[in-house]
Symmetry: C2
């Protein structure tokens, strides 16, 4: 990603090789699909958080590497199931697993990744981490379901939106950071601080994702711009505009969301409306606010290269183009 990963580069390299070991299975077909999706160039943001937070908390063991892998597996499982739910065609610039192999393996390999994650955690036997992660995976499924309930719903409020992204994205960021505190044997207060750091960072990450879905002309996200609108996802840039939209504008947005196939013209019309009315600026502002909240949570930790890296990672969120 950037400079802040340099101090954990060795661990990140170990992560890549341990992923293969941890996913060993006698079913070659699973191996093939899992390798395709896990090795397709994810940003490894969540593993980086596990590692930096572990180090921040003075953890000197080796378990942060398998736990970083587990967090990535859980994230990958949600992607596989999401792509079935959204009927998505591409991700990270590659065809999705459901496009190449069909819905069946997407569902089942996702299940395999969830199960293997719990198998690895159970074997390690840290019930604090198990409790944290199992609560998170429940929240993930609730968040995804809230999101489909609110599909194409112009009545989606900011509160609804934050509940959805909190559950579907931020809780996993929170857990990734909290694992560091648990491994480091830190106090409840420090655990909470890191969980909140991760949660707010996750909110900011998702806000930027939702901005980029409207602004990233160059397709750098590896998925087509306008995906959210096409899938009927009412995100903050759109919610902001809807709050001040006249009847005619609402109707125009409504008709675009209702369409099975949104045209480029529809998308560009709504994109312009969002930019003009300040939906992008508003969402960027919310991103900054959450990043500030996140960074403030690190105040209780003394200065260290790991703290600096986490602060840099937070700043990077705002600059990222993918």
């Amino acid at each position: 990603m950037s400079g802040f990963t340099k101090i954990i580069q060795k661990d990140l390299d170990k992560l890549e090789s341990s992923i293969d070991d941890l996913l060993s299975t006698r079913v070659g077909y699973i191996k093939e699909i899992v390798t395709y999706i896990i090795k397709s160039g994810g940003k490894r943001v969540r593993p980086v958080l596990v590692m930096l937070c572990s180090k921040l908390c003075g953890y000197r063991g080796k378990k942060h590497i398998p736990y970083a892998a587990i967090i990535e597996f859980i994230h990958t499982a949600t992607l596989l199931h999401d792509d079935v739910v959204d009927n998505a065609k591409t991700r990270r610039g590659l065809s999705t697993v459901n496009t190449v192999w069909g819905n069946e393996p997407s569902v089942l390999v996702g299940d395999f990744l969830y199960s293997r994650s719990f198998e690895l955690m159970s074997r390690d036997g840290n019930t604090e981490i198990l409790k944290t992660i199992s609560q998170v995976t429940t929240a993930l499924s609730e968040g995804e379901i809230l999101e489909i309930i609110k599909t194409a719903d112009l009545g989606t409020t900011e509160k609804d939106y934050y509940e959805i992204i909190g559950n579907k994205t931020a809780v996993l960021f929170g857990a990734a950071c909290e694992i560091g505190a648990i491994l480091g044997g830190r106090t409840a207060n420090e655990r909470k601080a890191l969980r909140n750091f991760g949660y707010n960072l996750g909110i900011a990450f998702q806000l930027m994702d939702d901005v980029l879905d409207y602004t990233s002309y160059n397709d750098v996200l590896g998925k087509h711009v306008g995906t959210d609108l096409k899938e009927g996802k009412v995100t903050l840039p759109l919610i902001y505009v809807l709050n001040s939209a006249g009847e005619k504008e609402r109707a125009s947005i409504e008709s675009a969301l209702a369409k099975q196939r949104i045209t480029k013209q529809d998308f560009n019309r709504i994109r312009r409306m969002i930019e003009k009315k300040g939906g992008i600026a508003y969402t960027m502002d919310a991103t900054k606010k959450h990043l500030d909240m996140a960074k403030k949570r690190l105040d209780i930790f003394p200065a260290s290269q790991y703290k600096t890296a986490l602060l840099e990672l937070a700043d990077y969120m705002l600059k990222r183009e993918m």
Copy 2:
């Protein structure tokens, strides 16, 4: 199911009310779908096994009830994901969740059930049970994937078949029984005996299921007879026939399996072939053999009303019509 559940009837009643408590969620939509599928009259075979085996092992606490519920949740999650994978229309005589609500909630509510199960187990903190169950859910996904790999594959061997049903069905039966031994604080040897009892019972259960899919004229399974053939599942009755089939018969089976929509004539032709060539008798024989193996595993336990009930449950497998 039958007489052998009478001695645990109070616990079975408690199970039904605790299911509601254990699945509490702020998302009403999840509640609705979960209630629809869990309350749609499953046989509760797996919970009965948890309960009878716990009692057999002298367990006197109350945890066998939530653990029985958890085993049923995991089973239900696999049904939800199966129905997406198989694109099934009905189950237990009712429309499937994917037919009523779509694939999205089927996938996500399945995820919710898996996650909530691990959440409940993590909260209890019994790492032996956690290890057992997480290994099982990994095997379940592997079994399901093996099954789709072998779809419509006339080269499917008996060994392949037993590997598939072992993973997709029998391991969960095994775990249900093993939980009883773990809760009762029994020796490794007794744990293994109960796990093997459950495993062989599960194999027999699946063998009967696969027989009934060809013979249950009255649609008592709550799903249409001939589902396996329609879905391209090459089960033991068919494998047996294929082993001795001439070229013409093989070609006729092959063409039926390859069809998107199998006709009633196709099905009846293959059903008659299977009956005539002894595929049903062969599979019933295998069922009996596995039930005998299962029952033998209980030899090390002294006589008790719970042992009697478990032996009766095994005998019931052969008689069941649904």
